[in-house]
């Protein structure tokens, strides 16, 4: 039995942003088990002060390259809530479709480019182009489909151009949506093949009881707006997000952290699934069960599986959304905006978990106060506690340092952290 361990990972790779893992165990006693976020903060909340409302979604989308669509939509929702604007049914449907396509491209990027190399024993996706060409092709096809759809609906796959407060600057051609619909249908086989591949991956056997927080779906699996829920039974309204996130600062972290009923909480695909499993598309539920994922699952590595399940859900739900759009004539793309004094919150489920934007405006529609709470910052404390538990559990089990290091790295990656986002 091996009871000591030293792990020192400086700037973990295959994650977005800069973080370190440090573990030190001597004779069975955990001296240090740390997850540190050292990324440079950018101060978006201050940048907005004094700016006209129009700037908020445009600038805040730049918080993150991977989920710029989610940031833009959360920001737009916060502005609309502050001004009392209710988007049209057409706008709501198109936004959800756009959101689905971002979820798909981000999950695929994570699953194949960032996570799969660990399960297949390589350092990156590059060797897989030789050893598993069909897997790489599948990933590229799925990602291209999602990105093309984002171009068509949002005007750009990253930092969208068409999404504005009140609706869209212009609408896609119906023929373009029809093409996306066809491609979505034929992508299902790629997703089924991915599920088969995932069945061959050895998901580490580790779990630690966790409080999972997400939006609460009423009739649909939730992505944009609604009530907030936790597996420990906390229920809040969208505008009460501060009571759900309780942000605080900690030495060694340039990002803030969150807690709720316990010292830490988790958000993300696994949290969404744990809280809303019955609302998943039936085919997605079936795949989830076949991969051994049923609520409430407390194994953080299952975050990878939850992402795959969500890919199936968003693809099938998108077909349904496109059918709705194709069945109705296009209405006006955007409604007029009248700025007024007020405050608003926008909560959106981005790929890595629940995201909140809050703004307060003066009577001219200028930002007086801004607040953004990012999913990765809500996950940081949970990652920290997981690493502690994992380190002592695996050191006791006698695993080698290199094994523990890899498992710790994989654990952080399973949260799909977006670190630059968390220090916006």
């Amino acid at each position: 039995m091996k009871l000591s361990c030293e792990v020192n990972v400086h700037h973990l790779t295959r994650v977005e942003g800069h973080g370190n893992i440090r573990i030190s165990i001597k004779n069975g006693v955990v001296k240090k088990a740390q997850w540190e976020v050292v990324e440079t903060p950018r101060f978006f909340e201050a940048m907005l002060v004094g700016k006209h409302w129009e700037n908020a979604p445009y600038i805040c989308g730049r918080i993150c390259g991977i989920c710029s669509i989610g940031h833009t939509l959360a920001s737009i929702r916060a502005v609309e809530n502050a001004f009392g604007i209710t988007p049209s049914a057409q706008t709501t449907t198109l936004r959800l479709l756009l959101k689905h396509m971002e979820t798909l491209q981000s999950h695929i990027l994570h699953l194949y480019f960032l996570a799969a190399p660990d399960f297949l024993g390589t350092g990156s996706v590059l060797p897989l182009t030789k050893t598993h060409p069909q897997v790489v092709q599948q990933a590229l096809r799925l990602k291209l489909l999602a990105n093309d759809a984002c171009d068509i609906i949002g005007g750009r796959r990253l930092h969208p151009t068409r999404t504005v407060v009140g609706g869209f600057t212009m609408l896609p051609e119906k023929a373009e949506l029809e093409t996306i619909r066809q491609r979505l249908l034929s992508s299902v086989s790629d997703l089924l093949a991915s599920a088969e591949l995932f069945k061959t991956f050895a998901i580490p056997d580790f779990s630690r009881e966790t409080e999972f927080v997400s939006l609460k779906g009423e009739t649909n699996y939730p992505f944009i707006g609604g009530a907030l829920v936790s597996t420990d039974g906390v229920l809040k309204k969208e505008h009460q997000y501060r009571a759900m996130t309780n942000e605080y600062c900690k030495t060694g972290f340039t990002s803030k952290l969150s807690r709720l009923s316990r010292p830490s909480l988790a958000v993300g695909a696994l949290a969404r699934l744990n809280n809303n499993f019955p609302l998943l598309h039936p085919a997605a539920q079936e795949i989830s069960i076949s991969l051994g994922l049923e609520p409430v699952n407390h194994n953080p590595y299952m975050g990878n599986v939850a992402q795959l399940v969500e890919c199936v859900h968003v693809v099938l739900d998108s077909v349904h959304l496109i059918d709705t759009l194709l069945g109705t004539p296009w209405q006006e793309p955007r409604q007029p905006v009248h700025a007024k004094k007020g405050e608003g919150v926008g909560a959106v489920e981005v790929p890595r978990g629940i995201l909140y934007h809050y703004y307060k405006f003066d009577s001219l529609g200028k930002v007086i106060k801004a607040d953004c709470v990012i999913p990765t910052s809500q996950n940081h404390a949970n990652i920290l506690h997981d690493i502690e538990a994992l380190a002592s559990q695996y050191a006791k089990a006698g695993k080698k340092d290199r094994e523990i290091e890899l498992l710790a790295e994989m654990l952080v990656r399973a949260y799909d952290p977006c670190i630059s986002c968390s220090v916006h």
């Binding site: 295959r14 903060p41 006209h52 129009e54 730049r62 390259g65 991977i66 182009t129 212009m170 340039t254």
Partner: protein
């Protein structure tokens, strides 16, 4: 995909390439992976030896270093100098690296302590005034855009590999917009910086009916006076113009001109 590259029958070596990020959204690097249709060919053109977001392997020497993001903390100056030392060619990737990007919006405030307090309260946090790369190291090539346009990066990288000169368009986005036969956004009631912004994005935003916010910085002979007149004619306030001009940092000298004319306190930021 073949291992050996050649151009007009002449064998070429694949340059060793590293990607690095300072303060940024990592969107510019992501754009490279977002290029699914040509990604594998693109990857074959170069040998990627450092790409923290995509791979675990790392190396300390590279022919070309692409650096994304702006400098906002002291340790980034040291990292940047190290990268400069190791690289033959250093490329500033995206508007954060070229002009400070959206990050430099915090430089609007004279009091950095207020900025820190606004976000972190009393928790001590390190940060400095935002700078583009060229304020600290020699930059060999700039690739503009927020985000960068992937087609443009591929063209530029291909030219670098082939040893061909890289040229940026001198004309403004407005020309590309006209070439795309769009209705002028001013006619649709949208303010736009297309007339003074450097082209190369193929009028990315304006073709989607979104006014240009000037992410690529000024065109060679940008005429600010003319743009101010257009904005006035269409009834837009100088504040709307300023919001757009100062968004990405490329127009720092322009905003200074406008501000120093007004009664407001002049911005302390000088164009490097």
């Amino acid at each position: 995909m073949s291992e050996q590259l050649s151009y007009l029958g002449v064998p070429l070596t694949r340059p060793k390439v590293g990607f690095f990020e300072l303060s940024s959204c990592e969107g510019c690097q992501l754009q490279l992976l977002n290029n699914e249709a040509t990604l594998l060919d693109f990857l074959n053109l170069v040998e990627i030896v450092n790409f923290r977001e995509g791979m675990s392997e790392r190396a300390d020497t590279y022919d070309i270093a692409f650096v994304e993001g702006s400098v906002t903390r002291k340790d980034e100056i040291a990292r940047l100098s190290e990268i400069r030392k190791n690289a033959k060619i250093l490329v500033a990737l995206g508007s954060c690296a070229c002009f400070g990007g959206v990050n430099q919006l915090k430089n609007r405030f004279r009091d950095l302590e207020w900025v820190k307090k606004e976000v972190y309260g009393d928790f001590p946090i390190e940060s400095m005034e935002v700078h583009p790369l060229a304020d600290f190291v020699r930059v060999d090539l700039e690739i503009f855009g927020c985000p960068i346009k992937k087609e443009e990066v591929e063209r530029i990288v291909t030219n670098l590999v082939l040893g061909k000169a890289v040229h940026h368009p001198e004309y403004p986005v407005c020309m590309e917009c006209k070439a795309n036969e769009n209705i002028c956004l001013f006619e649709l009631g949208e303010p736009c910086l297309g007339p003074i912004t450097r082209a190369g994005c193929d009028a990315w935003c304006t073709s989607n009916r979104r006014g240009c916010w000037g992410c690529r910085g000024p065109a060679e002979s940008a005429n600010l006076t003319q743009l101010e007149e257009i904005m006035r004619t269409y009834g837009f306030s100088s504040e709307t113009l300023l919001d757009r001009l100062e968004c990405f940092g490329g127009f720092a000298s322009f905003t200074e001109t406008i501000r120093s004319r007004g009664k407001k306190t002049p911005s302390k930021r000088k164009k490097p």
